[in-house]
Amino acid sequence: MLVLTQRSWDVMVAHCLDGLPMEACGLLAGQEGAGTQVLEVYPTANAARSARVYTVEPRDLLRADRAAEAAGLSVVGVWHSHTHTPAYPSPTDIAQAPDPGWHYVLVSLSDTEPVLRSYRIVDGAVTEEPVLLATLPGGAVES
């Protein structure tokens, strides 16, 4: 399960829309070990500058990692957009997933409304996980 605030959801989707026609990406931070609640999101540049692939700009990766650490958090996942395909990990996404402990969030912009879904990718096996939008401290509603 992945728990997002509405603000995080808005930042992630807005960054994907801003990035069009290219794929956009960013990093998710939360408390290590209790990695279901996303507490901060860091939009990053797509170093690949492509509508088909993304690479988180290495300097942004370092910056996000340091910002997360300064906030007592860890990077716990990544999000990126699919501009013309569904919100499901592509073979490229699966092959290049760097960390089995991470959450992999896809934002599809192929329909009129953005679609956000989250997955775990472990040894090439993809499992979708529920995404909850937290509305109040301690309270959550399913998206």
Binding site: V53, V56, L62, P91, Q96
Partner: protein, 97 residues
């Protein structure tokens, strides 16, 4: 002249280095630092180097604040007290490109 540096490891590599988030290594260049890391933690070999003995392409390496791709990669000179940060490349996309 070998110097001591601090190497920060991402979560994914920590199990290969005794579970430590930060380890010490010595060397005058990044290649020597990597060689020292592999001497201490042989399991890191395949994550640091490719089969040709060059830097693994799915690895980001920073010397203090700088990406070592712009500092000569494995030939980058390291100084006493420098920090080397290792991070996985984060990439993917809708279509193989």
């Amino acid at each position: 002249m070998p110097v001591a540096v601090e190497v920060r490891l991402p979560n994914i590599l920590r199990p290969l280095a005794g579970g430590e988030p930060v380890v010490k290594a010595a060397g005058g260049t990044l290649r020597e630092v990597f060689d020292d890391l592999v001497r201490q933690y042989p399991g890191l070999q395949g994550s640091l180097f490719n089969t040709e003995g060059e830097m693994h392409r799915h690895l980001n390496v920073f010397l203090n604040d700088d990406d070592v791709r712009y500092l000569g990669r494995l030939e980058a000179k390291v100084g006493d007290g420098d920090t080397v940060t290792l991070m996985p490349a984060v990439a993917g996309g809708a279509v193989a490109g």
